[in-house]
Amino acid sequence: MNIESYVKFSKPFIDALRDTFKVMVQSDITPHSPKMKKDNKAKGEVTAMIGMNGTVIKDGKDQEFNGMIAFSFRKEVYLKIASAMLMQEYKDYHEDVEDTGSEIANIIMGNAKKVLATQGYKIGMSTPTRVKGLDYEIKYPGNTIVIETTITCAYGDFTFDICYRVT
């Protein structure tokens, strides 16, 4: 799959991210140029991931596909985003904000799914997962190219990774 296909596939996710941040984080976002990720390392202390699988109509036939999106945040940025979403200031990790990244991933996937359905994708969502810690190796589905996009919001930068493959 070439980068153009990825960009087209990524667009509903970026649009959903923009909408979610505007409505729930009260921030605009600026996505930077997407690039191919060269390793599997998370780029922040908090990473939220959600898998997807399903079918896509390609060349007139239903074909199976799977993929994943992941968001990685530095702790400081994560806490500021969580504080904005929960309308309460969090200066350190707290159980209230443990799954904020997962909730963002869940909302993005749910909204992108609707748009991708109009392009022939029938997507099943997995339950989001999250990890904390630097140098975490994200387990992307095998044989996929991962496209990484740095996103700037009012609280700093974070990364958005997306990968998928038709099987």
Binding site: T20, E95, E103, I107, N111, M125
Partner: protein, 133 residues
């Protein structure tokens, strides 16, 4: 349906702490202070029955759709299957914006439906449409 009373007993069901806190915070800004949380449909269903048996039934349920144990739609079906809960207002919250989901929820007897992301005004608008005096 009676008008919305901020003092009513409200149950908020979501497996995500974040979303429960967001909804609770928005409700509190609307003056609500009698809010119970549940992190899945199973404990929610137990709480609904226990509260009814104790004579302090929940008067409004707000539930997420996708939860790992009992989903929001199954919770709604359970609620609507019992005469004592048939008229309890039930607001479904979901990240899945597809029309087919709305149809499923409406058929199951949902009172209203809100798609994430949403802000306090949107939540209030959805609640106002349920509690039309």
């Amino acid at each position: 349906m009676a008008a919305f009373n901020p003092k009513m007993r409200i149950l908020v069901v979501d497996d995500m702490n974040t979303m429960r806190k967001i909804i609770k915070g928005m409700l509190q800004k609307m003056g609500c202070d009698n809010i119970t949380e549940a992190d899945d449909g199973n404990p929610a269903w137990s709480l609904i029955q226990e509260a009814h048996a104790a004579g302090r039934p929940f008067e409004f349920i707000i539930s997420d759709w996708n939860m790992p144990g009992m989903t929001g739609i199954d919770l709604l079906k359970n609620v609507r299957s019992k005469d004592e809960f048939k008229k309890v207002p039930f607001l479904m919250v979901t990240a899945e914006a597809e029309q087919s989901n709305v149809v499923i929820a409406v058929k199951a007897g949902v009172s209203n439906y809100i798609i994430k992301p949403f802000n306090p005004d949107t939540l209030k608008g959805k609640i106002d449409k349920i509690f039309v005096p």
